[in-house]
């Protein structure tokens, strides 16, 4: 009886792993088998992956492009802002931090509706890829700011900067020569988070996209609704191949940034 209660946590852990892992394996196998319903005995093939490439490669490239653009914009907007917030940790800074974090608390659908109502009638903007980019930046910006800010908050910026200023370094020089190098672990962790989240973003993108601008997750939703199971699975497999290494790099960078802070 005692050993039974002691093994419950292990059993729960293993069951949770199985619940998360089995469908992933199913999806990978289904994307590589000739006929999913006849099972593995029908043989393995890359035919479906090839078909996905023909049908959806543009959505994959659009997602990578958007993720990189999103990274550039969040770097430009987020890193200097995190520095300013770290130098002025007052009430106004808290409110601003709270405001930019709203897209983490409010469902993407609501944010997308808000954007559509204000800017939806500007046709040239509405149908341009930068409209989707706005949504991605809104969603990922808080991660860049927080990640950078958390590293900067542990550094004695005032002393470092005063030292540099006494040697004649101007504000811009101090920003690039002192702030950025010191914040680098946080910026790196933030950057990987931004790219990972942007490639996987669906809730906002589904509302903001147009038929000619399909991102990877939008294409996935499309294939789930209209393609045979093997093609949908192969497409999911392609998504996993892109997202899983990014996720691991992101977790590694975040752990490294936190270790640096201690």
């Amino acid at each position: 009886m005692k050993s039974l209660t002691r093994s419950i946590p292990m059993v729960v852990t293993l069951l949770a792993c199985a619940f998360l892992f089995i469908p992933i394996m199913q999806s990978v196998l289904a994307g590589l088998t000739v006929n999913y319903f006849r099972g593995l005995s029908s043989g393995l093939t890359l035919k479906w992956v090839g078909q996905v490439w023909q049908l959806y490669s543009s959505s994959i490239f659009l997602s990578i492009w958007l993720a990189l653009a999103c990274l550039v914009v969040t770097l430009i907007l987020g890193v200097p802002a995190a520095y300013a917030l770290a130098r002025n940790p007052g009430r106004a800074s808290r409110i601003l931090e709270e405001l930019i974090s709203l897209p983490l608390a409010i469902p993407g659908l609501a944010i997308a509706l808000a954007l559509l109502q204000l800017y939806g009638s500007y046709h040239g903007f509405r149908t341009h890829w930068s409209f989707i980019l706005i949504g991605h930046v809104l969603y990922t910006l808080p991660f860049m700011v927080r990640s950078t800010l958390s590293v900067l908050a542990t550094i004695d910026l005032t002393t470092l900067e005063e030292g540099a200023a006494s040697l004649g370094a101007g504000p811009l020089r101090r920003f690039f020569d002192i702030v950025v190098p010191n914040a680098l672990p946080g910026i790196l962790a933030g950057a990987l988070t931004v790219v990972t989240l942007s490639i996987g973003e669906f809730n906002l993108t589904w509302m903001l996209h147009t038929p000619y601008l399909k991102t990877l997750p939008v294409g996935l939703a499309d294939s789930y609704a209209s393609m045979r199971l093997e093609v949908a699975s192969a497409y999911t497999l392609v998504f996993f191949v892109i997202i899983v290494p990014l996720l691991m790099a992101m977790q590694w960078a975040s752990a490294r940034a936190q270790r640096n802070m201690q």
Partner: protein, 297 residues
Amino acid sequence: MPDFGWGAVPSRPSLSDRPLPDTLVSGDVAVKQRQFLSLCLLPLVIFTLAFLAIPIARLFLASGESADGWAIYLRILQTPRYLSALMQTVVVSLAVTAAALVISTTAGLYLVRNQFPGRNVLLSTLTLPLAFPGVVVGFLIILLGGRQGLVNQILPGYWVFAYSVTGLFLGYLYFSIPRVLLTVMAAAEKIDPTLEEAAKTLGAPSWRIVTDILLPALSPALIAAGAIAFATAMGAFGTAFTLATDIDVLPMVIYTEFTLSANIAMASALSVVLGLVTWVLLLIARSLSGETIAAGG
């Protein structure tokens, strides 16, 4: 107001030992520095105003622009379809939160307190879904419990649950487990192991160690993680979209009001309600867990 910790962090000696010239603190340099900091903040402020604050204000105003005016919020409560969607969303989200808390706390404590070969593989597996969008999670649930799903193939009889409330529950559970797990594990690693040893020495049974030591120590993390799980489930759209379930959750109702019925005012009003509920909840949870952390030292 959290302490950003200037005082707590040991200053780096190399530069601070130099005496500072007087010109630095006074006049020109200080003004220049302040201007530079404002300049650093400006792009973010403009972007946030243009694409977040003003659109949200517009969304709120749009919700009052129908024939009903502001009474539209009253109509949500009077229309059975909206009210039942709201209730169903809350019930499913509560159930998912409870299940995710139980499963992830059990697994998280087990992984923190045991070192064994393969532990990191288990941990990686449990955090994988963090980067999966809701649509992918919905597809994975279909592979598990759809018409051609694994369960239906293995078990005799008809086992299709992906398109029902069970499928929705499992889908939400799928993406909630990793989020709760990471929060719980981070908190569990900080628990002083000597407390538990002391309780053991005094002869406490293992369930008393859980109820008297572990759960109280974890409660701030559990509140925070529970709030995140609940808010995520309330706003989840992709999973419900892929599963096309027979029950209406609020995000799906908003979506159909907007795209099919073109009922902009109602879609906006429901979005405002949904956004307010999730935002206020996270705010309360954070202040609750924050205070407990502060009280605990």
